[in-house]
């Protein structure tokens, strides 16, 4: 019964995906204390691609994502997921927040956090059974964290915590993955593990959108980019949108060739 329901929803998903993109943002404007963080951004993200949202610190990249997801309230604008509202698409959308946005001292083990990704299957009182446990372990294996399943989350390195967050999103089995700075402050092994997972998601026909600030890896990691600094500057395939002119506009005088974003140096 469960399996058949999932088949139906998968087909439904693909049909809808052809009608409207996985994420379309229109006229999004967000302000903190009257200062606009995002101003009138329109963006349409292509299905089955890995898109990077690029821009300097304080450019509103994370805010754009969070406004689209309804985590912060925009002043104006709207986001459409798979041609419909977020409320109707929640089973198809997975969000990976910034690692620093939560308190890792929280009393939970790695498996407890990954199991949060199953909430929409389990509901309030649904029994957590063996197959749920399998889903959690599969997700952990995909990010190479299966040996840490019983570890308290505060005892993990930054990179391991980031992988746990990604595993939670994988457990959601979504069609659209929204990641906020997944590579911020992680070790090289984690960075490779994450990009491998993202490319697997793409080859499964899923869509990935990631906020990113390391300009040196953009061409290697992403198919499409959205370059922004409060306003949208350019978007499209990396070859046409990730141009020196666009970066000059986004970063102003702060950009020097070959120098990574200062945010990376600090992290």
């Amino acid at each position: 019964m469960q399996a058949r329901l999932e088949d139906v929803s998968m087909r439904d998903m693909r049909e809808r995906a052809t009608q409207g993109g996985p994420l379309v943002i229109r006229g999004m404007t967000v302000a903190y204390d009257r200062k606009p963080a995002v101003f009138s951004v329109d963006a349409s993200f292509r299905s089955g691609r890995i898109t990077g949202i690029i821009g300097p610190n304080g450019a509103g990249k994370s805010t754009l994502l969070r406004a689209g997801l309804g985590i912060v309230k925009p002043l104006a604008g709207q986001a459409t997921f798979f041609g419909t509202t977020l409320a109707r698409s929640r089973d198809r959308v997975a969000y990976v927040p910034q690692r620093a946005s939560v308190d890792w001292d929280f009393p939970a083990r790695v498996v407890d956090v990954v199991a949060q990704g199953l909430y929409r299957r389990l509901g309030l009182l649904g029994r957590y059974g063996r197959d749920h446990d399998d889903m959690v372990m599969t997700a952990l294996e995909r990010v190479g964290m299966e040996d840490f399943s019983a570890r308290q989350i505060g005892q993990l390195s930054g990179g391991q915590q980031q992988r746990v967050f990604l595993a939670r999103a994988l457990a959601q089995d979504a069609m659209l993955y929204l990641l906020d700075e997944p590579f911020a402050g992680v070790d090289a092994a984690t960075e490779r593990a994450i990009i491998k997972v993202l490319k697997t998601l793409r080859s499964d026909g899923r869509t990935v959108i990631a906020v990113h600030h390391d300009l040196s890896t953009v061409e290697e990691y992403f198919d499409d980019v959205l370059v922004m600094n409060v306003r949208k500057i350019s978007d499209g395939p990396v070859g046409t949108a990730f141009t020196p002119e666009a970066l000059e506009t986004a970063y102003g005088g702060r950009l020097e060739r070959g120098v990574r974003d200062p945010q990376k140096a600090r992290a």
């Binding site: 309804g70 927040p97 939560v102 009393p107 939970a108 956090v113 308290q152």
Partner: protein, 301 residues
């Protein structure tokens, strides 16, 4: 102390104290994890003028007027804080501190000047609790537990705190997953479609309910210890949320029973004739449990 005396003088205070400690410790876990311990403090202060107000209006101390009075004074506190913050141009923490203490002080003054001789409500009891006086005069021994006439004479506070504890426990069990997810990661919880604002409000309401019901047992000042000490100590014992809540319940029960017992018999061991305040001892034991957990708890790092 023989069985009959125990049932008459100790059984109901022990039960009421234990239930009150439990009712506070359960939501206290989430207050502590959300770094909202101050909210528990605020609630315990705001509750007092609300209860006094309810008494002045109705002339009795019964559950619903007390809850409504507390709710009214909580609303008033929120309005006052906002007004002071806006017109006084001071930081929110200071505005909160001023409003809570001022309202609490006003509650004490009004209480002092009102005629409460007919009921268990005076300044000392409001501040430090009333545990020793919540006795079961109709009891003649253990057989009274099955005697309907004697049972009818049980202190009404027992039913009030019992009901509140059961309601809080059931809500905790039913909403366990949303509570855990939204406490750990509010942004993620929102993307799951969880009503995170309502959940946060629910925790505050449950805490207020517990504070009003525990008022009889431990008073306005010590109730904050019951919100904070058992969960904070429990966090140092385990790295799992479920286990933490279980530990906090155990610590709450230990603090209540040990505190009550020590207050009644402890001074005698040291040659003193007078029993000490039960609520004071409960709060002290809770603090000592926290101190022990901080020194020896296995999950301190």
């Amino acid at each position: 102390m023989n069985g009959a005396d125990f049932v008459t003088f100790s059984l109901t205070p022990l039960l009421i104290g234990s239930l009150a400690a439990l009712a506070c410790a359960l939501p206290g876990n989430f207050l502590v994890l959300r770094r909202q311990a101050l909210v528990g403090d605020a609630i315990s202060h705001v509750v007092l003028p609300g209860i006094v107000l309810a008494f002045l209006v109705t002339g009795t101390i019964s559950t619903w007027p007390m809850l409504l009075g507390s709710a009214a004074s909580a609303v008033m506190a929120v309005v006052l804080i906002e007004a002071i913050r806006r017109f006084g141009r001071i930081e929110p923490g200071a505005a909160m501190g001023v409003v809570f203490t001022a309202m609490f002080a006003a509650g004490v003054l009004v209480l002092e000047k009102s005629d409460t001789s007919g009921v268990h409500l005076d300044v000392e009891h409001a501040l430090f609790g009333n545990l020793e006086s919540l006795i079961w005069l109709d009891a003649t021994g253990w057989t009274s537990l099955v005697d309907p006439v004697a049972l009818a004479g049980l202190p009404p506070e027992l039913f009030r705190i019992g009901l509140v504890t059961v309601v809080i426990g059931l809500c905790l069990a039913a909403f366990w997953r949303p509570l855990a997810i939204s406490t750990f990661d509010e942004g993620f919880a929102r993307t799951l479609g969880l009503p995170v604002r309502a959940i946060g409000l629910g925790i505050v309401i449950a805490s207020a309910l517990a504070a009003v019901a525990a008022f009889d047992a431990v008073g306005s000042i010590i109730v904050i210890a019951m919100f904070i000490c058992p969960p904070a100590a429990a966090r140092l014992m385990t790295n799992r949320l479920g286990a933490q809540v279980a530990w906090s319940a155990a610590f709450a029960l230990i603090a209540a029973t040990l505190g009550f017992t020590l207050s009644a018999s402890g001074p005698a061991w040291f040659g003193s004739e007078n029993a000490v305040s039960a609520a004071g001892m409960v709060g002290t034991v809770a603090g000592m449990i926290l101190a022990c957990a901080a020194l020896f708890g296995p999950a301190r790092t």
